[in-house]
């Protein structure tokens, strides 16, 4: 559905994108992660036919952004990171206006507008002026707008940016519905916890270079080579940590200074699971109050993969 090959964009002496190659299949929800200035918006803008790449290729629905932009525009829906406001237009007029730009006329237009308003839960706001809507509602309206012509691909640039928790959850639920409808979605966001729940694939970009692309499970597996357990002992955590380190299958045991009695334990490959640590401590007469496996999330994976550099 979306493919880029050695995609490069240079602004004077700034390399915004450096030979970026990625593939997004039909039905994928691809989370595009990177620090500010990493090249996410540039990539999305190239795919949305708003920017021309300096070199390399990009294809959307089989059409090249170099020379077949007109075909792509009918296949995509683009939500920029800033909402374009039309003062003095109602929600219904706003959608009608964009429907007419896509040459959707007559009964079709009415039906489509009714459907997208229902989907985005904005039916009750159709006579409200666009500039009177809250930020969350505007984002929902932006999604309604891009769905009007039933695009195959949605390009969403920071759709949850600046939203309050409730509005963020609403947008997330809406995106899940779109995923169920079979849309291919490329979404850039800073809210990584939400991406991990929503996306089946992620790409991590920094200084214009794609550092990682693959499924969420793959990235988690990549950054976590060994299991890590968090264990709480009743007393003498320092001795307990020292006792654990004596075992060959424990590669690291550190007492957490900010949490009383807690030790972070890294298990070498070959250890069964974290219950192994419990057994070991009980054998050495330490009282174990609690133990759990430390889960690694997308945020942590992102921090490990990137170096905090921007282009």
């Amino acid at each position: 559905m979306i493919e880029t090959r050695y995609l490069t964009k240079v602004y004077r002496d700034l390399v915004a994108l450096d030979k970026l190659s990625l593939t997004i299949d039909q039905g994928d929800i691809y989370g595009f992660i990177g620090p500010n200035g990493a090249g996410k918006t540039t990539t999305i803008r190239i795919l949305a036919t708003l920017l021309r790449p300096t070199s390399g290729q990009a294809f959307v629905c089989g059409y090249s952004v170099n020379g077949q932009a007109k075909h792509i525009r009918r296949k995509i829906g683009y939500v920029p990171d800033e909402f374009g406001v039309y003062e003095d237009m109602t929600v219904n007029e706003y959608l009608e206006f964009f429907a007419s730009l896509y040459e959707i006329i007559g009964k079709d237009r009415k039906r489509v507008i009714r459907d997208v308003l229902e989907l985005t839960d904005l039916s009750y706001k159709q006579t409200a002026e666009v500039d009177s809507l809250s930020r969350g509602m505007r984002q929902r309206l932006a999604l309604a707008r891009v769905l009007i012509h039933d695009p195959d691909v949605l390009l969403l640039d920071e759709p949850a940016s600046g939203l309050d928790p409730r509005a963020r959850i609403e947008i997330r639920e809406l995106l899940k519905e779109l995923r169920n409808m079979g849309k291919t979605i490329l979404i850039s966001s800073h809210i990584l916890s939400e991406l991990s729940e929503l996306c089946n694939k992620v790409g991590i970009i920094e200084r214009g270079k794609l550092l990682f692309t693959g499924s969420v499970e793959e990235i988690l597996a990549k950054v976590r080579s060994n299991d890590v357990a968090l264990v709480q002992v009743r007393e003498a955590p320092e001795q307990a940590a020292a006792a654990l380190l004596e075992h060959d299958l424990i590669t690291r045991a550190e007492v957490l200074a900010d949490r009383e009695g807690w030790i972070e334990v890294e298990l070498a490959k070959g250890a069964d699971d974290v219950s192994f640590v419990t057994r070991l401590l009980i054998e050495r007469s330490f009282s174990v109050l609690s133990i759990r496996e430390q889960e690694i999330d997308l945020e942590e994976a992102f921090m490990q993969v990137t170096k905090g550099q921007v282009a």
Binding site: L50, F97, F98, L101
Partner: protein, 552 residues
Amino acid sequence: MIGVPIFVRELVAHARRPRTYVFQSVFLALLVLVLIPLWPPSGQQRSGAEIAETGGLIFEFGGYLQVILLALLAPATTANAITLEKDKKTLDVLLLSDAGPFAIVWGKFLSRLFNLAFLLFLTVPLLFALLTLGGVSAKAILVQFSILLAFAVFGAGLGVLLSTILAKTSSVLMIGYGILAAILGGPALLQQMGLYSVPPGQFSLGAAYASPLYDMIYLFRTSSFVATESFPLNWWVAPLWCLGGGLLCVFTSGILLPYATSIDRVLNMRRVLERFDSMTEKTLSVFRRSAPAGAERPPVGTGNPIYWKETSVNTIGRFRYWWRANLALLALMALSYLAFKPMLGKIEFHKVTVAILGGLIMLLITVIAATTVSSEREDSSLLLLATTPVECPTYVKGKVLGILRNTAFLIALPFLHVVIFTAVGVIHPASFFLLLFAIPAAAATAVIQAIFVSLLFPTTLRAIMAAIMILVLESALPLICCLPSFNLPMSCYFFVEPVGGLGQAFAATSQGNYLVAMGLAVVFSALTQIGFSVVIYSLISSGFDRYIGRAA
């Protein structure tokens, strides 16, 4: 010192922009281009007195030209001083700082005035070169410079005040230009319309006091001050009030700045129209049995969506406002007839009236068209349009027709005026047909060229400035070739002729049929404008995707 940090910040930011130097170069180039033809040729034998006279002439016309250029530049330099802060939501941050409102407005005013003054200083070497020709004294240069500087202070101060109380940069420019044009040209118009008369050979002191332009004419024409350094009485009145007025404007801005957002909300055009709308609605309801039915605006339908947006959503285009605003224009016109009743029989009054209407048409259309794309770019709605399949013909056609429809009544006003006074036997019927070729062609060309400018320039302010500059340059075309309608006010003035006297004065000094010559000129001019519009459209079409910010 008051406003120093803001002054320094603005000055440094201004100095870093390459366009500052481009602008200064263009300003100087314009002056040189206009004045060089007056320079005495080196090959000819001329007396010292003749050369000195030429020097004086260059100096005089240089002064007039600089006043006009300042009238264009001063409001433009300050128009976005506060509106930009309001747009970027940084005004509150500035007001919460230790700077205070007076420091903010003085800082902004002084930095912009500095740039205007710098432009004037750039001309000093040019003026001093005139000393070599004789006929101009250093003292005369100083007097002229003080008038120009005072006018710059007024223009910049007025811009800052309007920028404080209005929300949109385009409104600041429109009103600013209106006020400056009234100050500079008002005395001439009033005199031309016969509202006051000056005995032959004498000069109206009131005009010299009111207008810096007339003050200069007063200096140059009523005395030989350039050569003899004898200054006419009270030449300093105009610069003094300009200076005081400018500073007062800035001071008032300082007082109003904390309430700027509330004031611009009250003065918001849409709200004003809404109030006007509800007022007329109440008045009309007295005569109506029931409230008017139907939607507030027509549905999008199957036509051109861009045209629909221009004529239904934009404040000026909304039908309810549109026809009521036009009704108000009509009422104003009728009232003006009552006010100027004694003048209605004089052809000079009608010539000037139609010329003013022609000027208004060009200015309003140019400003509306110049903001049409750049404002979409500023509010990011152009970005959304760029991702849709909308193509150049739909977009440009929708914009051009929409703007012409919104201003249709204003365009029709000169015709209405001419028809009325042709019917009562004051204006020659041929005037209508001459205007018929001149006005629509000029209006359509103005729209399409301003849309092109709007597509090229990233901000509303720059787009308006560039479009008006082009308009000013075009208005010189009739002086160098036979293209009358490129200067619509001038052609309107000449095309309105009295019954039984069409071109008598001209015919007396030339051979041939004046009416035929005039007719051919206006048809040729209209055809040229159509050709010019086609060229501009092809330029828009060839780079449309790039201009609206998308890949081809």
